[in-house]
């Protein structure tokens, strides 16, 4: 899906102080009888108010775990989270469960992938929206109702009065996702995490939902983390893109430079695997060969090397470090085009 990119006169958020800054986030899952599994490894990024940051990667690259770690929704046991996640200077990882509960829904909202299973099937939509308002704004159910109706109206649900009393199964897929967005935005959080919000929807609805998100984010000056594997979504929405592979950041850049001139072979592979309308219909797609199962361990090599078209010998022997140049960050020894200087290995830096 290629959403047209609107060149809105949007103020550049880069100068602002970051609202959320993730530093060296590492999530490790314990496994019985095996080495622990590192789902997210030393991830760092910033999100500023009004900015949309994309986390892109294939299944299992750690994007959803990142979002759950930021929200504090990982299970209490069986995992360790290190690093820091600072929201306005407060480290979320050190907060108590209760403090996190007060924060979730009011300061950070989250939208999930599957709108039907993410709504409580036995509670009317209106009640589910007012629940959040009652919880965080201390409103009574009665006084929360007009706010909930206003919210449903805002996310483009027609006839909100009727929808308030309806159950999730009575709504269409797009409506359900709108209702979920209404719930997440009811308390006007400053930070919104959208975890593949359009995956379960068909293409026309996807475009509507993305347009809605963009509108709301701009209107409320919300910072948005967009988690997706869909490059069309990234192209249409994100200011900055972080490409993850095997739990580590492999490339970061602003949307346009990254799409025009991908440096990392993985980013390049992702971009060339997107079907294009301009191309010959008989032309075959270029998938990234192999699967996550082929990964090498990051500790002694580049995890992507076995699937990489540009791999050199060094890729299998050393760990590439993330090197920043300007706004771009790249973790690669032999980038596409060869224009960037080969990254130093992590041992070199030490």
């Amino acid at each position: 899906m290629t959403t047209t990119t609107p060149e809105t006169a949007r103020r550049d958020p880069r100068g602002a102080e970051p609202l959320l800054s993730v530093r060296d986030l590492t999530v490790t899952f314990k496994r019985q009888g095996e080495d622990p599994f590192v789902a997210v490894d030393g991830l760092s990024f910033d999100v500023r108010p009004g900015q949309t940051v994309g986390l892109v990667g294939e299944s299992g690259c750690g994007k959803s775990v990142t979002s759950l770690a930021i929200m504090g929704l990982l299970p209490d046991r069986g995992n360790t989270v290190t690093g820091s996640v600072e929201l306005d200077g407060r480290d979320l990882l050190t907060l108590s469960n209760k403090q996190m509960r007060d924060l979730r829904g009011s300061d950070i909202g989250m939208i999930f992938q599957d709108p039907l299973s993410s709504l409580n099937p036995v509670v009317p939509i209106g009640r589910q929206v007012t629940e959040v308002l009652e919880r965080h704004k201390g409103m009574s159910r009665k006084s929360a109702k007009p706010v909930a109706r206003e919210m449903l109206h805002k996310v483009g649900i027609p006839d909100p009065d009727r929808r308030l009393t309806e159950y999730p199964h009575q709504l269409s897929g797009g409506m359900r996702q709108r209702a979920l967005i209404a719930m997440a935005l009811a308390c006007e959080p400053r930070m919104l995490i959208a975890d593949e919000p359009t995956t379960a929807l068909d293409v026309t609805i996807q475009a509507q939902i993305l347009a809605l998100l963009r509108e709301l984010v701009e209107e409320m000056d919300t910072a948005l983390i967009m988690i997706t594997h869909d490059l069309g979504v990234v192209a249409g929405l994100c200011d900055e893109v972080n490409v993850l592979y095997g739990g580590r950041l492999v490339e970061r850049g602003d949307r346009h430079p990254l799409f025009h001139d991908p440096h990392h072979p993985y980013t390049g592979g992702l971009l060339s695997s997107v079907p294009s309308l301009e191309g010959d219909a008989a032309e075959r797609l270029n998938p990234v060969p192999g699967s996550v199962a082929d990964n090498l361990p990051w500790t002694s090599s580049c995890a992507f090397a076995p699937r990489c078209s540009n791999a050199i010998e060094r890729c299998r022997e050393e760990t590439p470090a993330a090197v920043a140049s300007g706004d771009r960050v790249l973790r690669c020894f032999n980038p596409l085009g060869g224009q960037a200087s080969p990254a130093e290995s992590e041992e070199d830096r030490r």
Binding site: G109, D114, L116, S117, N120, H169, S172
Partner: protein
């Protein structure tokens, strides 16, 4: 489905597969149906059309099931009979109308005669009226016992499902112990403890026997709910734990519990009859109850078996009705048996 199923099963009960463990497995199997009861389980397969609710799709299948319809008909007939029986009965079931015809030596049980189509019992009370009015007491015993058992099971199951860890362990071990005692023996022991047996000791004894079944069932389906997306979504909105348990987990776990309740109604009626037969029923027989009538008939079982047959047939039909209805409900709500 597999992970929820594993969740619902207790890792601590892998012991020898005796009678108790079979009973537990059946309960857990039923509980697992709650985990997968949503009409959409293939994530990502949602289109833009309105979904069909679980109840609507179950009803669509039930409507064409003769087993369910027979069960439903029996159940409705029984309930209606229980309500209108006081007006339907030709005589007062407590009045000793034919007592003058009762002679302990030659004719202890008066036979049929005009106005008394089934004859009378050993005190000269009209048997037909007693059978009709007996449906009311039977319904009261069955429903009350089920409701009390359900209430107790809801409390224990919610506690166990909401707090994992030691609360869960303690409650479930108690429940396991109760499940390992044969239900009739347990009910017998409980009602034997009561100094003066009455209808209520009977109800309470049967209710207590049902508590562990409901508790285990509810806990299983609550555990399945815990890993659901909408519970995660509620947590992501900062909803309080109590609200998550009571508003988001509990109502979605009730399906199999309600189905079990219809099955338990049948068991409760049969258990009540069994306890009455064993002499632990209500000694006051002015208000007849089928189990009690059956129990009293054992004195005359050789010469006048009809005294036992009539209430027994009533009990069998009613229990069959509830069981047929409950089983087909369970089947309709079970995603594994969907066609």
């Amino acid at each position: 489905m597999t992970p929820t199923h594993r969740d619902a099963r207790d890792p601590g009960t892998k012991g020898p597969r005796g009678l108790g463990s079979r009973k537990k497995e059946r309960i857990d199997e039923l509980a697992a149906t709650a985990g997968a009861s949503g009409p959409v389980d293939e994530a990502g397969a949602i289109d833009d059309t309105a979904g069909v609710s679980l109840i609507a799709s179950a009803w669509r299948r039930l409507r064409r099931s003769p087993v369910f319809l027979v069960g439903l008909a029996i159940t409705i007939a029984f309930v209606v009979l229980a309500i209108v029986s006081s007006w339907l009965a030709p005589h007062d079931p407590g009045e000793w109308l034919l007592y003058d015809k009762v002679s302990p030596q030659s004719n202890p049980i008066p036979g049929p005669e005009p106005g008394f189509p089934l004859g009378a019992d050993d005190k000269g009370r009209d048997l037909l009226s007693r059978l009709l009015v007996g449906s009311r007491q039977t319904l009261i015993v069955g429903v009350c016992a089920t409701l009390f058992g359900l209430a107790g099971g809801l409390v224990l199951g919610t506690l166990a499902g909401a707090f994992s860890g030691w609360v869960d362990s303690v409650i479930m071990r108690i429940v396991d112990v109760m499940l390992s005692i044969p239900s009739l023996l347990l009910a017998f022991s409980i009602s034997a403890v009561a100094s003066r047996p009455s209808q209520w000791t009977l109800i309470i004894a049967i209710a207590i026997v049902q508590i562990p079944i409901f508790a285990r069932l509810l806990r299983g389906s609550m555990l399945a709910q815990r890993s659901k997306d909408h519970v995660l979504a509620a947590r992501a909105l900062g909803v309080k734990k109590s609200a998550i348990v009571l508003r988001h987990m509990l109502p979605n776990s009730l399906g199999p519990v309600i189905v079990q309740a219809t099955l338990v109604l049948a068991t409760a009626i049969i258990d009540a009859a069994a306890l009455s037969f064993l002499g632990l029923g209500n000694p006051d027989d002015r208000n007849p109850e089928w189990g009690q009538m059956l129990g009293r008939a054992q004195t005359y079982i050789y010469d006048h078996p009809h005294l036992a047959f009539y209430p027994a047939i009533c009990i069998i039909i009613v229990a069959l009705g509830f069981t047929l209805m409950g089983e087909s409900l369970r089947e309709a709500l079970d995603p594994k048996s969907r066609r």
